[in-house]
Symmetry: C2
Subunit: 507 residues, 2 copies
């Protein structure tokens, strides 16, 4: 197969559209496999009708109705967002409950990684000192201290991988007693206890803020709490000194830790996609779904997320729920999110971006079908509300907004120690607190962003690699990165900010 | 007067409570001026009843009813938040409209500062290169580039004061077509055009984000737009190189600028308080109000803000509105904010913090009365909606949440080039884009935070300095800092993050 031959990809025998696979799209008149001639130019990733679809007729991809033809679409037509009317979202009642629970494959044994085991049994993939900030007010001081710790102290503690400030814009100037304020508060609480921080909670508070340290951590006494307004902090230099001295105690303990062999079942991986295109659901996400199935079979924990990107497939998820309780929790979370969006006078259709559309995704239904496949085929064994910590293994739905930074932040809170992020258009996104493996949906992106993309799933589109082979490769790469192999983002030292999800008002 | 003599401060002859001024409070039995004996220990800044107040009786401070006695409060009682029932907020109808317009004092002439005049007539107090980011996704790359520009390029451009990334967590993963999305978008648009950036708009976009560059800046073609997804950016190093090369063009132009004498009327100052205590309304804020009056008389622009901290004084503000249109705009903004809070099941009472209460402020009514005095006595000549740019001079109400970082961010968008921030409990808050003058309400804080507080308004409490003298000193310090005198925060290189106000949903 040469690069110039017209190539199209259909996802299911029931589909009446396929996407153009060629890097630069296909011109008018191109002859497609099956004998159809293109009636107009179609860009890469965009859909072409395989049969005559009359105005109002169903347009099917992934064997799902992704829309209705807004005009007659004779075979060979370009099918894009302007030519599709979007279906209504499925309701939240009358859904199939636990009707499609896949038999788990045979348990996978013998897979392990080198992790940092914590006193509470969790395992980190990195050994980082994280400084929890109760409020944005302290972040200028903490940033300054972190820079000095990195330069002056960290070189003496070679087993510590890094230091970071858990900075955020929450903590004061917010309606902290509003019902929904529980979300940002528990998010911060649980991020601080992420396994990658080795149980060394170090907290810097201002003193007068709404998010008082004992409100953030009601369950234990915070050791070595630094409070900038304390009388002992006579000025700026004293504050910096106090933070540095406190950090050093934690660094000493963290430095005594070493990696040890841990079974793959100790791994907790958060999956996400961003800057998606029509290949997301063809290459990267199904391969990631296969990798997810492997990790679940190995006894590990995998979470998928992004409320608006599963909303149109709610029936698939409730059917895959391991128990009716899980299905109910799923419906509850997605219904709450429906109401949240409605309060702002929008719905799940607010999700799609200009880049999604340029990449061939006509609407949120099509995007969701491609997003959801990253969850593989395993039964869904639990639901994690936003900001809560996962307390079980297997495949979990962590109910988060799809915003990359917010979803990543909430997966950190849920306890993920490794992040896999698929992208079609390309984003340099990563977080500092867990390694972020970047997967491209297309080889052209992987070639262009050669030092940002960790895995190229593009060969799945050409048939050079199967979904299973690619999924196996991803699974192995997860174990390698969990063991310490740096991601591209880690090598460059780049990362994004945390973004707390705060559905409550600011004041 | 020695430090040990009991000292209390009443704000108005109609008040039936006063606050204890002594640094460490006063013990039970202390004999107050006027002959009252304290019935119990009262901490500094906390209120004592001057007469017998029966249960249900009005408690007056600032000649305003700040609450009703929740129990009998015989003269000499400690009056705190647990002993006061809060009044309802004043309604938004039937308010006095433009009934209390103070005659302006004589015009002040001859005051000037050394500023950077821009092509559009505005004047900066600093000469900074700001990089606008359309979306959080790019911020890891931009941060990396900024560090390199600071180290490698900036030393060659000595007239440029610094470089900063206008980082935020907006731009994608948000409901960008929601009605209220206009607020964060125009905020970012207007911050990018703050006079301190010399008209050199430099923008880094990802490519696929919702906040497309031409949506952010619909009114002009963005020069030298950097888009990371562009084909020309072959990998990480190319992205960094592109940003650095683009930045250098802007640095060359900014470096040609020099300070020149500008009248005080070219100054645009944003006022704010945070970490307030009972002295805020006694020392720092009234002095700042006097400074504000001076700047208004000199033809300058002053904005005060913080919706929840003026809400209980809405009648004072509508009475001071220069025109009925201004009064209507005020009512409209505060009513919108009432509805915004109500949507989250809270009201303006959500504002107060543990620190406020520890500092003697019993509730939002009392806090608001002390906050509002920083607006001085001038007529209110305009209202700036959140995220909008001020387009007139005089005293303006910029309608923002009271959150320090959000208020500061919105005042930047409104065009403030200098920030004055009063604090009673102490916060190291400042922003990078304009100098932030920190004023303490108490001398004890100024002594403790000797290298963070720029001005100590404490001597007003002891009578060593008058409000007028302190206001005059603040006015002069504003001109000095506007001319280049660094604030403590600038000397340390510390600053807080921008925080966009986004009342619309995330997705």
């Amino acid at each position: 197969m040469t690069r110039d031959q017209p190539r199209i990809i259909a996802m299911h025998s029931g589909d009446n559209v396929a996407i153009v696979a060629n890097d630069f799209g296909l011109p008018e008149g191109a002859s497609l496999p099956g004998g159809i001639r293109l009636r107009e130019r179609v860009p890469q990733g965009h859909k072409v009708s395989l049969v005559d679809i009359p105005k109002g007729g169903e347009v099917r991809r992934y064997n799902v109705v992704i829309g209705f033809a807004a005009l007659d679409l004779p075979a060979g037509s370009w099918v894009n967002e302007n030519r599709l009317d979007m279906p209504k979202a499925p309701g939240t009642t009358g859904l199939p409950i636990s009707t499609n629970i896949a038999a788990p494959g045979p348990a996978l044994t013998g897979h392990s990684f080198l992790g940092y085991r914590n006193a509470n049994g969790t395992v980190g993939t990195r050994n980082l000192l994280a400084i929890t900030t109760t409020v944005q007010c302290v972040s200028g001081i903490v940033d300054h201290a972190v820079r000095r710790i990195r330069a002056e102290l960290l070189p003496r503690y070679p087993n510590v991988g890094g230091i970071l400030s858990l900075e955020h814009i929450y903590g004061c100037g917010v309606a902290i007693d509003a019902p929904e304020a529980v979300i940002p508060i528990r998010t911060l609480r649980n991020i601080s206890q992420n396994p990658n921080f080795g149980g060394e909670i170090m907290t810097v508070s201002l003193g007068c803020e709404k998010l008082q340290p004992d409100r953030l951590f009601p369950e234990f006494e915070i050791p070595d709490l630094v409070r900038l307004q304390d009388d002992s902090n006579i000025g700026f230099e004293a504050m910096i000194r106090t933070i540095m001295e406190t950090a050093e105690k934690h660094l000493e303990r963290l430095n005594r830790r070493t990696r040890e062999p841990c079974p793959a079942s100790d791994l907790v991986v958060g999956l996400q996609c961003g800057g998606s295109d029509a290949f997301s659901g063809v290459t990267a996400n199904p391969s990631l779904g296969h990798a997810s199935d492997l990790l679940v079979r190995a006894g590990g924990t995998v979470m998928f997320s992004e409320n608006t990107e599963v909303r149109d497939g709610i029936d698939q998820l409730t059917a895959r729920a391991a128990t009716p309780e899980v299905a109910r929790a799923l419906i509850e979370q997605l219904s709450w999110y429906d109401a949240y969006l409605e309060r702002g006078q929008v719905d799940r259709a607010a999700n799609t971006t200009p880049g999604n559309k340029a990449g061939g995704l006509s609407n949120i239904v099509e995007k969701a079908m491609g997003s959801i496949v990253k969850s593989g085929t395993a039964p869904i064994s639990g639901v994690v509300a936003p900001g809560e910590r996962a307390d079980q293994k297997g495949l979990l739905f962590a109910a988060t907004p799809a915003s990359d930074f917010i979803c990543g932040t909430l997966q950190l809170a849920a306890g993920a120690t490794l992040h896999v992020f698929t992208t079609g258009r390309g984003t340099p996104y990563s977080l500092e607190a867990f390694p972020t493996i970047k997967v491209s949906t297309r080889s052209e992106l992987a070639r262009r962003w050669h030092d940002l993309i960790d895995i190229d799933a593009g060969p799945v589109a050409t048939g050079e690699t199967s979904i299973e082979e690619m999924g196996q490769r991803m699974f192995q790469h997860m174990l390698d990165v969990a063991s310490g192999t740096p991601t591209w983002a880690e090598r460059h030292g780049i990362h994004n900010s945390l973004a707390l999800f705060n559905p409550a008002p600011v004041t």
